[in-house]
């Protein structure tokens, strides 16, 4: 054993976790740590705001399935992480956040740049640690990564007093850790598996609602197998987007407030729902009392607390989604044969009817066509991130995703400004594919300063700004439900995004006509720097269909036109 400093122990622990990138900004309380990074194999990516550093780590995690790491200094550095940590928490993303802290002996004395980051982040982290003993560092970091990445993943925070980073000790690096209060359950109860198979076998109108848990547990193939066996149509939640290829004949689209009519109507007609890795958020269920009145719900989730939290569940399976689906599938195969169902006929007819209802016309660039054109211009495995609002719902409804982990969006917290830094993080994880942030003008401006990060760190991404000079989604609600009283939603000071981006050294382009898009995208994919594409659209643009807040799922506003 050799004596090393706390900071060296932290960096060695990170290397042992196979961490190659950390996103962050150094400061007074992380100087010792950054000094060790200087000679290490870990690349520090310098964000320009700690919120972005957290979103980058989150985007990295979602694109790769591996834990992302962000670092901030004490006080304001730590508090700036908060939005990013809360975003990762709501969407179950494995992130380990390191924060500097004032030296141990002045904690609680309101020292310079002191903030009670543990107190602040307790409700938005899966767990948290404050380093108290230098010898505990390797074990603590091992525990943090274990907790962040297993069970239902989530952010874990490690607060590092400055003096502990400097102190030396004989370190032992454990290979494994046991945490007596933490034992996620991966295997479903065999009796529940049998009962689930029985229910599904007897179902006349089975339907699957697939959430983010399917992506996390990598259960895509299993889900498709069971869906095809049951001929059960698949509705997804926003977080579930990408869990099944959207060109699959059983795919219905997203369900919920901005769900497709197909899925919103059929969810209500199903008699048995197999819900996998979804927490039935209010944006998915809409009016809770009217959600799936006919259906018996089988709920697979790794988090016990999600069962029965929002909807009444007929049959819970506390387990990893992949293992649970596989076991139910095996049980089904022993019991029955593949079915031909009237239900599938109904789903097809409904789909055709809905297609005939869609109409589009507008002088400006048509939004649905824009998204479709973007899809055609991009390779199939490109990663899409989104901001929040109109851009997000357009992307969710109309951008066809074919592979898991290629659609990254702030679903739970709904964080504007998420998409761009998340795109940078995703690009770091997947340097082989183009990464595109479908953005709005309001959202992009919230984290646009990190163009500097993307340029200086040579992480080129593409930003497509759907620019209506409005806070589009809020304006849509004002238009529909507040008598067109646009209170504070017109964004009059929006800069010229072409010049703005060029000032950072990025490519800035304005899309004048839809037919130019393939060319622009082609160039952007090849470019060494980020490309920002400004797409001016009508300030009156809406995204439909939608279900008004507080209404049941079936009360769909179709909208006269999209865009």
């Amino acid at each position: 054993m050799v004596k090393i400093t706390g900071a060296q122990a932290i960096v060695q622990s990170l290397s042992r976790e196979k961490i190659k990138f950390v996103f962050g900004i150094p400061g007074g309380a992380t100087l010792p740590l950054y000094d060790v990074f200087y000679d290490s194999n870990i690349r520090t990516i310098l964000a320009r705001h700690e919120q972005c550093a957290a979103h980058m780590a989150d985007g990295f995690a979602r694109a790769s399935g591996r834990t992302g790491v962000c670092v901030a200094t004490s006080g304001p550095g730590a508090t700036n992480l908060v939005t990013g940590i809360a975003t990762a928490y709501m969407d179950s993303s494995p992130v380990v956040a390191f924060t500097g802290q004032v030296p141990r002996k002045v904690i609680g004395k309101d020292a310079f740049q002191e903030a009670d980051v543990i107190g602040i982040t307790t409700p938005i982290t899966k767990h948290h640690f404050q380093l108290k003993d230098v010898l505990e560092i390797p074990k603590t970091i091992k525990m943090a990564f274990h907790i962040a990445s297993t069970g239902r993943p989530g952010p874990v925070l490690i607060d590092m007093p400055k003096d502990i980073q400097i102190e030396s000790g004989d370190m032992k690096f454990p290979e494994k850790v046991e945490i007596r209060g933490y034992n996620p359950n991966y295997k479903p109860h065999p009796v529940q598996v049998k009962r689930a198979a029985q229910l599904l076998m007897n179902a006349k109108r089975p339907l699957i609602i697939a959430g983010g848990g399917v992506i996390i547990s990598e259960a895509t193939n299993e889900l498709i197998k069971i869906a095809e066996f049951l001929m059960a149509p698949i509705a997804i939640t926003l977080m579930g987007k990408g869990c099944v290829p959207e060109d699959h004949p059983l795919f219905l689209g997203m369900t919920g407030m901005h769900g497709t009519p197909d899925s919103n109507i059929l969810v209500n007609e199903a008699d048995v729902i197999l819900a996998v890795g979804t927490r039935f958020s209010d944006r998915t269920t809409c009016k809770l009392e009217c959600f799936c009145p006919e259906a018996k719900i089988i709920h697979i989730d790794i988090d016990t607390a999600e069962v029965g939290k929002n909807v009444k569940v007929f049959l819970p399976l506390i387990a990893d989604a992949k293992i649970a689906i596989m076991q139910i599938y095996d049980a089904l195969q022993k019991k029955s044969v593949k079915r031909k169902s009237q239900w599938f006929k109904r789903t097809k007819e409904l789909g055709e009817y809905i297609m005939s209802q869609k109409s589009n016309n507008d002088g400006c660039i048509n939004l649905v066509q824009l998204i479709s054109e973007l899809r055609r211009s991009l390779p199939l495995d490109s990663i899409i991130t989104t901001e929040v609002g109109l851009n997000q719902m357009l992307a969710a409804l109309y951008f066809k995703i074919l592979k898991p982990r290629t659609f990254i969006s702030s679903g739970g917290l709904g964080t504007m400004g998420f998409g761009f830094p998340a795109a940078i993080g995703a690009k770091v994880a997947r340097q082989d594919v183009p990464v595109v942030d479908i953005a709005g003008d309001g959202s992009f401006l919230m984290t646009a300063q990190d163009l500097a990060c993307s340029i200086s760190e040579k992480i080129p991404v593409i930003v497509l700004i759907i620019n209506n000079k409005m806070l589009g989604m809020v304006a849509q609600w004002q238009r529909l439900f507040y008598n067109r009283r646009y209170s504070a939603t017109e964004l009059k000071g929006i800069p010229d995004f072409v010049k703005f981006s060029q000032a950072f050294g990025a490519e800035g382009v304005r899309l004048e006509s839809l037919k130019d898009l393939p060319k622009i995208i082609k160039r952007a994919i090849k470019s060494d720097v980020s490309t920002v594409i400004d797409v001016p659209i009508s300030p009156e643009a809406n995204v439909f269909p939608m279900v008004p807040a507080g209404a049941p799922l079936k009360d769909i506003l179709w909208g006269e036109k999209n865009g």
Binding site: I118, P123, Q130, I147, G181, T304, A305, K309
Partner: protein, 166 residues
């Protein structure tokens, strides 16, 4: 229907765990009626006994959310009909004269309370029992004039030989 429930948890005995537990209640809009904390036989473990007013689905959510906390090792719901439940109260009573003094001492002895402090115009009574007993005693001596009350909140264990530990 809202009823009183008792939840007993074994937690890591270290700083911040009480904050974590109470913060979960606040954040999820649950309400703690009473909470007692003490060591649980092992140096690094503590037991928290939490009473909550709520319906069945709420108590189920609370126990699940408690279980999710990494520093919470075990969670159990105690069935009041099959548990021993105790609370202690210290009550300072004003005693105007020697008649009142002897009355208060008599009441205290009926309730198996102890007089633990005496001054010229007051007595401090220590009384232990289930909350109803303490309520009844307080009501009884209220007429004399209560100066101060300190109640511990209840603590509880399941009856019988089975042990609930980490």
């Amino acid at each position: 229907m809202a009823e009183m429930h008792i939840i007993s948890i074994i937690v890591e005995h270290k700083p911040g765990v009480l904050y974590e537990v109470s913060n979960m209640f606040r954040r999820r809009n649950f309400n703690i009626e009473s909470i007692t904390v003490g060591t649980a036989g092992q140096e690094d473990l503590a037991r928290m006994t939490i009473t909550v007013l709520g319906d069945e689905s709420m108590i189920e959510q609370i126990t699940k959310q408690l279980h999710k906390l990494v520093d919470v090792i075990k969670v159990a719901r105690l069935d009041p009909s099959n548990s021993v439940i105790r609370e202690m109260a210290l009550i300072k009573v004003h005693v105007a004269d020697s008649n009142v003094r002897s009355d208060v001492i008599q009441y205290a002895s009926i309730f198996r309370g102890n007089i633990i402090d005496v001054s010229t115009d007051s007595l401090v009574i220590e009384i232990t029992g289930d909350p109803e007993k303490i309520n009844a005693f307080i009501e009884l001596i209220q007429t004399f004039g209560i100066k101060e009350i300190a109640r511990t909140g209840l603590t509880a264990l399941q009856r019988g030989g089975k042990a609930f530990r980490a």
